[in-house]
């Protein structure tokens, strides 16, 4: 019985790995085609990654309309820079970097940060993903209230799991600044969540 379970588990792992390998091969094929200016291939890549890119833009900007614009700009940027992608990192990671740069560039350019609409959930079908987060039901809202520097670091490090080195590189800041911003974000979130609980 134990051996059978182990065999099933191994088989399941193997199947999962095979599916992942197929997906990676498929993605690589789309990338190669898109690099020859094939818009249909690029659309396939868009469909594969849209949720990840939009999710990142939404969490970084905290605003649905701005996130939509950033997402579109990020894919347009990715299209124009596609030949620079050499496969040294995963395509999704490369796209994330492009998206982060797009968000930062737009924020610098438009300075709409101060005017951004506060509530992400308003007019959005953003799924409620923190229902199982115990006392942190308002975490998403609280993150959205953070100042941009602290929010960007918190989103990339705590939500997306990038290391401080990766986060600082993406944001163009020192690793020490990334750590300081994370500390600040935690402190502000603690204040905010405790206030809301009270």
């Amino acid at each position: 019985m134990g051996a059978l379970s182990a065999a099933r588990a191994a088989n399941s792992d193997y199947e999962a790995q095979a599916v992942a390998a197929d997906a990676a091969l498929e993605e690589r094929a789309w990338i190669r085609k898109a690099q020859t200016a094939d818009a249909a291939a690029f659309e396939a890549l868009y469909r594969m990654h849209i949720d990840k890119v939009y999710g990142l833009c939404l969490r970084m900007t905290g605003n649905v309309a701005e996130a939509e614009d950033c997402t579109q700009d990020a894919f347009i940027q990715a299209w124009s820079k596609l030949n620079e992608f050499r496969g040294e990192s995963a395509f999704g990671t490369w796209l994330h970097r492009v998206a982060v740069n797009t968000v930062l560039g737009r924020m610098r350019k438009s300075r709409r940060e101060q005017d951004r609409i506060r509530a992400v959930s308003e007019g959005s079908s953003t799924p409620q993903t923190i229902g199982d987060s115990g006392g942190f039901r308002d975490l998403e809202h609280a993150i959205n209230e953070l100042p941009s520097g602290a929010r960007h670091v918190f989103v990339l490090h705590a939500v997306y799991g990038y290391s401080h080195d990766e986060t600082s590189e993406m944001l163009g800041i020192a690793a020490g600044t990334s750590k300081a911003q994370l500390h600040r974000a935690r402190r502000l979130l603690a204040q905010q969540l405790n206030t809301e609980c009270a």
């Binding site: 659309e43 849209i50 990840k52 999710g55 939509e68 579109q72 953003t126 115990g134 975490l139």
Partner: protein, 193 residues
Amino acid sequence: MNEENNRNFDDELMAAAAKLSTEVTPDRDLWPGIEQAITQPARPGRTAWNSVWAQAAAVVLLVAGSSGVTYLAVTEDASPVSPVAEGPTLVFEQASAQFGSMYNLGPDYQDARRSLAVKIDEELTRLTPEERAEVEKNIELIRTAIEDINAALAAEPNNELLQKLLFNTYREELDLMLRVDSIASAAMRRGDI
């Protein structure tokens, strides 16, 4: 005890953050806008060129306008000044100088500017007569602005606004020359094809 509570809170906070979804589906399909942007037919060369000259002209107008206004403001009540730069040669030399206590264009800038100034006549021959006239007009405008600012600086050598303006104008000039260089190279490549 309080420290332990804080640590627990931090741990819970980070765990809750890690559980947040990293993927969100947008309310609407964003592809049509992207497709429109990436499949627009490549603009013909003339349009792209016009855009470059429109940008260059905007920069020049801004620089020339600002310098003119500043010059008038500074010299309105002042007695006649002897300009630092009386001609293009002197203006070129001035580029290697430190502008007051605030701005300094280093030797790399001076080298780049000198080599581009030498190349620029050759590069201009690769452009059409209209494009060449446009470039020459813009370069002339920038150099006139440089002369004006230099003259104003002679009266007020410690004016930081003028120092910054002169510094930026030299950079705009270099930028314009670099653009001419790259555009002329691109035109040559197109001709080769």
